[in-house]
Amino acid sequence: MDVFNNWLLVPATAVIVAPACAYATQYLTLEQAQQAIFPGADFTQAFVTISDAQRTEIERRTGVNVRVREQRVWRVSTGGVFVVDEVIGKHELITYAVGLNSDGVVRQLEIMDYRESYGYEIRNAAWRRQFIGKHDSDPLKLDLDIKNIGGATLSCRHIAEGVRRLLALYDVALR
């Protein structure tokens, strides 16, 4: 098969000995995310602090906990708002940006940063040491920017919940 000639397989021995313990990647900076969602627009930051009453209302409407009171929001010159938010899963931290049109409809969502960590590996230095000095060509390094994982990423349920929370926030505090 032709496809196999295009594969350069790492020898099995190298596979065993070159682990990296966390996955982190930045897709977009703040400005890049703003321009990706609202091309050509100007952005004015609005400091939004969610009050107790607003928090209660958002949680009632969405069933999603409001953990952070300060929300990073920008008003967009062409209409709408740009919001940066974070969601925290069991093992991952995702920073993402959402653009909402002035009618409160999601215009676009972009992941800005994705970070994964698994505490037991980072804490367990003894376990990690077994690999040190044995690596082939890939350095053992925490927070290494690894490009492509051929195994599932974690569920995006938390992002969906985050968007629900932001839509309610828009309705309650920004509209």
């Binding site: 190298a14 596979v15 492509n148």
Partner: protein, 297 residues
């Protein structure tokens, strides 16, 4: 690298229940941005057509209606259904998209329909009729899950090519496909420690899909099981290894991984006959063993 690879873009969005990553290389930033946007739009269309969760999708409509009337589906849904049926026939029913009811009962899929399902229903009860119409001979639920994801990756790659990207990679939660004069280093998760990433292979052009239970493994009635079900026996896989399959397209690669998860080394011959190449990553030593063919590219 040639001069045409001057700009690179990499974006991620949540789609298909996972994080989908699109990377594109090309000569023109504006053209690439449009290509990447179009690739995400393509994946979003596949999601709208084939999501189990969406009652208005082709899959949702079939699951509600196809037991009573023939349901006409989108050409893309048709392509995926035909591929699913071919794989079911070739694997004597080990691969079977009619496990939706069991996945629902196990809590992996939300409740989709009222009324009782026929537990005897199997892949052969999905009838593909002329005019892209589908009819179920028994009350059943299909879930195109993995192969729809693979299909979405294939369409997104085609989209990047059509819009002038000189190289690219689309990765939908472990179903990935690359093209162009770039070698993409692929890492696999350690099957027992999914936060640990192991460099596996450099992919130039072709698809690689990986299936494992690490994010779906649950304990139920004292037994560990995953969301990968044996189509004929309706038993959830308890495999502790991960299975990766390289193939010319991602839809096929994804489908074949399910056979490897369910049948282990016994799937070897079939995977090869169907045009794939399988690798098992064992949990105990994280040692990649090629199942079919030699390990040198």
């Amino acid at each position: 690298m040639s001069d045409t690879l001057t700009v690179a873009l990499r974006r991620a969005r949540p789609l298909l229940g996972t994080l989908v990553e699109v990377t594109a290389h090309g000569a023109c930033q504006t053209q690439l941005m449009q290509a990447v946007d179009a690739a995400f739009d393509t994946i979003a269309l596949v999601q709208r057509l084939m999501s189990f969760h969406d009652a208005a999708s082709d899959v949702g409509r079939m699951n509600r209606l196809a037991y009573r009337v023939a349901v006409r589906v989108h050409p893309w849904t048709w392509v995926v259904l035909r591929a699913a049926q071919r794989l079911a026939r070739a694997s004597a029913g080990v691969f079977d998209v009619t496990v939706g009811g069991e996945l629902m009962r196990l809590g992996y899929l939300p409740a989709a329909v009222r009324g009782s399902l026929d537990r005897r229903a199997r892949w052969a009860d999905v009838r593909l009729l002329p005019g892209r119409r589908v009819r179920f001979a028994r009350r059943l639920l299909i879930d195109l899950g993995g192969i729809a994801k693979g299909f979405a990756v294939d369409r997104a790659v085609q989209c990047l090519r059509d819009r002038g990207a000189s190289a690219g990679l689309v990765n939908a939660g472990g179903d990935l496909r690359g093209f162009g004069p770039v070698e993409w280093r692929i890492h696999l998760r350690h099957p027992a420690r999914p936060g640990l990433l192991l460099p596996f292979a450099d992919l130039a052009s072709g698809a690689l899909a990986t299936s494992a239970g690490y994010f779906s493994r649950r304990v139920r009635h004292g037994a560990v099981h995953t969301s990968i079900l044996h189509g004929r026996r309706r038993v959830a896989s308890t495999a502790t290894f991960s299975a990766s399959v390289a193939a010319s397209n991602c839809m096929l690669a994804d489908g074949l991984t399910k056979l490897v998860v369910l049948r282990g080394h016994r799937a070897c011959g079939l995977v090869r006959r169907l045009g794939g190449r399988a690798f098992i990553l064992q949990a105990h030593d994280a040692d990649a063993k090629p199942l079919s063919g030699s390990s040198a590219g």
